[in-house]
């Protein structure tokens, strides 16, 4: 891989001097660390360095001379929603006609690079980080969204952030960021939807930072449903304040490779965090979910339910950590991972971790993996179903338990339909 040199880097067409030096500082840091390798504990199960150096040859700030249009066929139909459209990581459009626009502020990250006042608000998020992919993102991020919602505003309809990738992104590494501040007492259902044109191979390094203020409710849905050849790292950091709720559901079935990371700091009392995920993996797909829930204050609640089905030569991993600070008395933490391993060539890794420094807490975790119970198949077949029908019904049911946790009923219907469609196309 030919790394970008500083000389070239400085020549890049950057407008804000302060940003330039932040980029350079982060880039230097990335150069010493490089892409994560299996030697790092948190990357034990996903060898990103190998993949990136094999498949990508350019490390640069992604830019397009001419912004292409998105193909409207990709937009979700028969589902009323607000939208933000990112094409190859670039903010190209938004539509909030269904909402009170005065209560919402949406800006492109690129625009904020040109205005000192705007940039100052997010500059802290460009501080160097232990995580080399975040330093890479800080150095090379080209665009993204800065999204703020007033206090006491409940969205009438969900918001879909479309992350589209077309052929301009082929063989490119694309870094972008999303910032979201949800004001006190406000509510939003946010669908982070990923889709690419056929046979496009890109690496998307996407870093999200959310702040959920007092009494606010954020329901976030990651939908990575359609099979594609992409590689993805998607890290979300959440700060949860008093009595707020963060619900995250991840449908992880589409890309070639993805590592989803969700870090949630429960900073004040009675805040809660629920992370539930489905992984349905086939062929050579490699998906990993890492959750880090930090109970930093008393009376907070968290739970994770992760269900995985592995076919062919696929590889799935769940690393889940619950940290309970010594101040975080009366913590309630729960974690469960279940996997069905349906092929001898597939692999599932599970690494639950509890780190507890308070003495009055309720925490539990469990992890199981196995095959489908033969007696259950016999039962269904004795009612006239073929073996294939029976297996599919059991797998659907197994994963459906996670979909049942979705509390936004409109979104649940949408995800349920996408999932059933996906299942029907899956050969067992």
């Amino acid at each position: 891989m030919t790394n970008l040199k500083f000389e070239q880097f400085k020549k890049s067409n950057l407008k804000l001097k302060e940003l330039d030096s932040i980029r350079v500082k982060n880039f230097k840091k990335f150069e010493t660390k490089g892409f994560p390798t299996k030697k790092q504990e948190h990357w034990k199960y996903t060898d990103l360095k190998n993949i990136i150096s094999r498949d990508f040859d350019e490390l640069n700030i992604f830019s397009e001379n001419k912004l292409s249009k998105i193909n409207n066929n990709f937009l979700i139909k028969n589902f009323e929603h607000n939208q933000i459209i990112l094409l190859n990581g670039n903010f190209i459009d938004s539509n909030f006609d269904l909402e009170d626009k005065k209560r919402i502020s949406v800006k492109s990250l690129k625009d904020s690079f040109r205005i000192k006042k705007d940039f100052d608000e997010i500059k802290n998020f460009f501080e160097d980080d232990q995580n080399s992919l975040i330093t890479l993102n800080n150095a090379l991020t080209n665009d993204g969204v800065i999204f703020k919602i007033d206090d006491n505003y409940s969205f009438k309809k969900p918001l879909i952030i479309y992350n589209f990738f077309n052929k301009s992104s082929h063989n490119k590494i694309i870094n972008n960021k999303v910032f979201l501040t949800l004001g006190s007492g406000s509510q939003l259902s946010l669908i982070d939807y990923y889709e690419s044109e056929d046979n496009i191979k890109y690496f998307n390094n996407s870093i999200h930072n959310y702040s959920i203020k007092k009494n606010a409710i954020l329901k976030k849905y990651n939908i990575n449903n359609n099979l594609n050849k992409s590689y993805n790292y998607n890290s979300t950091k959440v700060k949860s304040y008093s009595n707020s709720v963060f619900e995250n559901f991840l449908l992880s079935t589409g890309p070639n490779l993805i590592k989803n990371e969700v870090h949630c700091d429960l900073l004040e009392s009675f805040s809660s965090c629920f992370i539930n995920s489905i992984m349905l993996l086939k062929d050579e797909q490699h998906h990993e979910l890492k959750t880090n829930v930090n109970h930093l204050y008393e009376d907070c609640k968290s739970s994770q339910l992760v269900k995985s089905v592995l076919l062919n030569s696929s590889n799935g991993t769940y690393q889940g950590k619950i940290y309970v600070d010594k101040n975080a008395q009366k913590t309630n933490g729960y974690q469960l991972s279940k996997a069905l391993i349906l092929s001898e060539n597939s692999e599932f890794n599970s690494k639950p971790e509890l780190e507890i420094y308070a003495d009055d807490v309720k925490c539990s975790h469990g992890s199981t993996s196995g095959n489908i119970d033969e007696n259950s198949i016999f039962y269904l077949m004795s009612r006239g179903l073929t073996k294939d029908q029976a297996r599919k019904m059991i797998i659907k049911g197994f994963l459906n338990e996670v979909i049942e946790t979705i509390t936004d009923l409109n979104v649940k219907k949408l995800i349920s339909e996408l999932f059933i469609d996906n299942m029907n196309k899956t050969t067992l």
């Binding site: 119970d373 077949m381 009612r383 659907k396 994963l399």
Partner: protein, 246 residues
């Protein structure tokens, strides 16, 4: 309907059924009673097609070889087993399962598939007869059902699928007296000159409600005695040992 000729079945080299013979004609109700471990459930499993048994002998179902048919084809041809221990299938909606099952079988029979509306109407009618609360049918299949609800659900499936030949494997165990009567009524309402039943039970009580044409005593994998419904009462009085050695 069913003609079983010197059927033997073993698991891991252990003989469970040995030279078992039984003939069931259309419209007949046969009861099989026997001590624990005599092979009653194995017989039900072998007839339904469960894997894991080494089988010898012959079974003709409606004049055709049964033992080489896959499990689902037996069901599609009208064979039904009400399970002793119905399986819990998490995440699978009971109504959806029933509808899939019914429509698969209807399709094979060359009947039109029922749409959701017609299906729900049918389920409503059948479940009311069995005094099954409708709301449990929108729950996950058998998950969190009481023992009685599970058994009633088996009989509900039977009344909906309308099999030609039904095996009831200890359907009475776990039922209270009221439920036993309701379930028996459900079975009796299905009795007709074309449909046959094989009822496996430990207790004579069920046979007070469902009057069998024949009662067989199964000991060590073979039928040692056959009689009319009075035999069940003798068994209740004298025990298997007393009757079998008489």
């Amino acid at each position: 309907m069913l003609d079983i000729k010197s059927l033997s079945a073993s698991v891991d080299g252990k003989r469970i059924l040995e030279g078992f013979d039984l003939k069931i004609k259309p419209g007949e109700v046969h009861a099989i009673m026997g001590p624990n471990g005599s092979g009653k459930s194995t017989l039900a499993n072998v007839l339904t097609g469960k894997n894991g048994y080494e089988i010898k002998g012959q079974v003709l179902y409606q004049g055709k070889d049964l033992l080489n048919l896959p499990i689902e084809e037996r069901a599609q041809k009208g064979l039904f087993l009400a399970f002793q221990y119905p399986l819990e299938i998490p995440g699978v909606n009971t109504n959806n399962f029933l509808k899939t099952s019914l429509n698969t079988i209807r399709k094979i029979k060359g009947l039109n598939e029922l749409d959701s509306l017609d299906f729900l109407k049918l389920v409503k009618e059948k479940s009311q007869k069995l005094k099954i609360e409708e709301k449990i049918l929108s729950r996950q299949l058998n998950v969190g059902f009481s023992g009685g609800e599970k058994k009633k659900n088996e009989i509900l499936q039977m009344t909906i699928l309308e099999p030609k030949f039904a095996i009831l494997d200890e359907t009475d165990s776990g039922l209270d007296i009221d439920a036993l009567r309701i379930v028996s009524d459900g079975v009796n309402s299905l009795r007709n000159k074309n449909r046959s039943f094989l009822i496996i039970t430990h207790y004579q009580r069920l046979l007070d409600y469902i009057k069998p044409d024949f009662v067989h005593v199964l000991v060590n994998g073979r039928i040692v005695k056959t009689g009319c419904s009075d035999l069940a009462q003798e068994l209740e009085k004298d025990g298997y040992e007393g009757v079998a050695t008489r």
